[in-house]
Symmetry: C2
Subunit: 395 residues, 2 copies
Amino acid sequence: MSLKIPRGFKFSAVEAAIKRPGRKDLALIYSDVDANASAVFTKNLIKAAPVKLSMKRITSQKARVIIVNSGNANACTGKKGIDDVVEIIKLLSKGLGIDERLIYPASTGVIGTPLPMERIKSTLPDLISGIGKATLEDVARAIMTTDTFPKYISTELKVGDEVGTISAVAKGAGMINPSMATMLCFIITDLSIDKSALSKALKEAVDLSFNRITIDGETSTNDMVMIMANSLAGNDTISLKSKSYRDFKKALNYVTEELAKMIVRDGEGATKVIKVIVRGAQNKKDAELAARAVANSLLVKTALYGNDANWGRIMSAIGASGARVIEEKVDIYFNHLQIVKKGMSAGNDSTANELLKSSKELNLIIDLASGKEEFSVLTCDISEDYVRINAEYRT
Amino acid sequence: MSLKIPRGFKFSAVEAAIKRPGRKDLALIYSDVDANASAVFTKNLIKAAPVKLSMKRITSQKARVIIVNSGNANACTGKKGIDDVVEIIKLLSKGLGIDERLIYPASTGVIGTPLPMERIKSTLPDLISGIGKATLEDVARAIMTTDTFPKYISTELKVGDEVGTISAVAKGAGMINPSMATMLCFIITDLSIDKSALSKALKEAVDLSFNRITIDGETSTNDMVMIMANSLAGNDTISLKSKSYRDFKKALNYVTEELAKMIVRDGEGATKVIKVIVRGAQNKKDAELAARAVANSLLVKTALYGNDANWGRIMSAIGASGARVIEEKVDIYFNHLQIVKKGMSAGNDSTANELLKSSKELNLIIDLASGKEEFSVLTCDISEDYVRINAEYRT
């Protein structure tokens, strides 16, 4: 799939050797003109310095530049953490001739270590002069931590006579949490869309994508999804009342859902992507409680890794989820194969084990048979590698 | 430590080859006379057949016999599961000449597979004739699943002029959950204590012990703690108003806390026992939320396993816990070594790493410095072996 870039967006990426040398780890997303902007941030009370700063800035709903680094989260770094990111932005502002209030910082990596300011500052001239020399793929690579592949996507959308592009990069891997905020994701578009429509569309897109994935049930201090819309496609500005708003939402949802899937596929040590679908719930809340409980259950995730259709652990997880569950009504399926019938074995365990062995992606469908509500969460299995990766993360 | 047995209690254990042959997996705890009884059960809505039955029986607060098997949970087995356990109890009742309402079943093992009734029924005569020929240690061994050592303890208590004994066995390993019920634990005593005092003391003891441990955040379908007090010590009956009630509670708490510690020490694949102590919270609820979040965080548990004092993950876990946390106030210690000072590094990471390397038990103290409330949870680290054990559990 070739990656399309919206008009007026340029990129830069340099090696600042933030955690260690050998890769580009500091990147810039740059719009030629002011863009409408919106963002969603982590709900963790402990927030990284760049998150604190970007949260203040976004009230203007205007942006020009995002500067993002991997290798260091700049979280739990106190006043120095804030001072450091303010200093970087001041230098960038001066070098770019752009109001510092239009520059948004983001970071990902180890918590609690101050940024290596000398190394970062010494690379800023290259970062600035490099604008337009890097690709969006380079940005996707620069923000990777334990990710094993870069995550990017683009789609096109016709609004009136104009064709606009929506492109995005994301990073994921560990610390991906249900029901809270997300990971890092930056979305850019040349479509013209007003601030309130942009803001509403982003919140809904995040809710349907990044807020419905889980790898380890952890919410990071640095999660952030941001969108910039710079209007250079020349379309009639999309508002909440436009017919095209629905098309925009659909396109944006496509972008965020695809990236969300990539993040789960790249879950630390994961071998399978599982869509947990709870249906037949009395209400949405019950469906969500049950789906998230299964998607986060260590016992379910290890069984899926072991290609063991151990549905008893699924029953146990929904029973302890807080959702109203009537044991004798529950049906469970792997894709179309029924493994639980009315709360008991459907007698297909060995077929289900074979299905697990041959599946990289799987629908795990739990029918509570008590109502009409549904909720789904994308999750992955957990292997010894998850433990290894996270035991050795800082070494 | 020599294991004392309360007067009038006898034991039996046989091999019924419930999951596989080669070990005793069916056991009996037998009191010569009727005992006052109380029990605490899993809060999972999906409950095993023996749990459903025992929950009904315990309203009488009287018991003579507990029959327990490992290798099969008899959960999610529908009407057949109930019929099976009722049939076993009827046969036992006939064989023993004891009212079936005084016989309590318990099971642990794989969910969703019917009990191998023929094998169990054919061993019942041996189980009955073997009463008095097995030890409490044999019972502790017969209820093990992935446990690596049997868990039992006893203590003595003088009430007036009489010395009574409290003894107990437990099984744990996986599916140990915070804040819910527990695992299997059977406590016996020859002390005379009335029903309401027994019941209150048990609930409090469970709350202070098994409800404050966590291995993988899962609540089993079969959790059950039961106590039998047969009065054969001849002491003045302990009531809620007795001076000796406090001594009884203390002795019971000792028994349950020691068993809880053994369970965490034997957490599947665990290499360390960590007591997470949150203090300085504004209220008890916040202290509990923060302590449980850290104790259940996969990222914290993998870092502890990797001997990495990655305190950023601890900060992140408390920040996302729902507790009120002011980043700039938080202090964190490993035993007496401060690793976080006012939300930032205390500069002791490498010393802390060394401390982790040399520690099998560790206090992880988190001071929120916002109030006076405290809560602690016992947890363990998580290793590749946890994943391996649980991926291969049914194979």
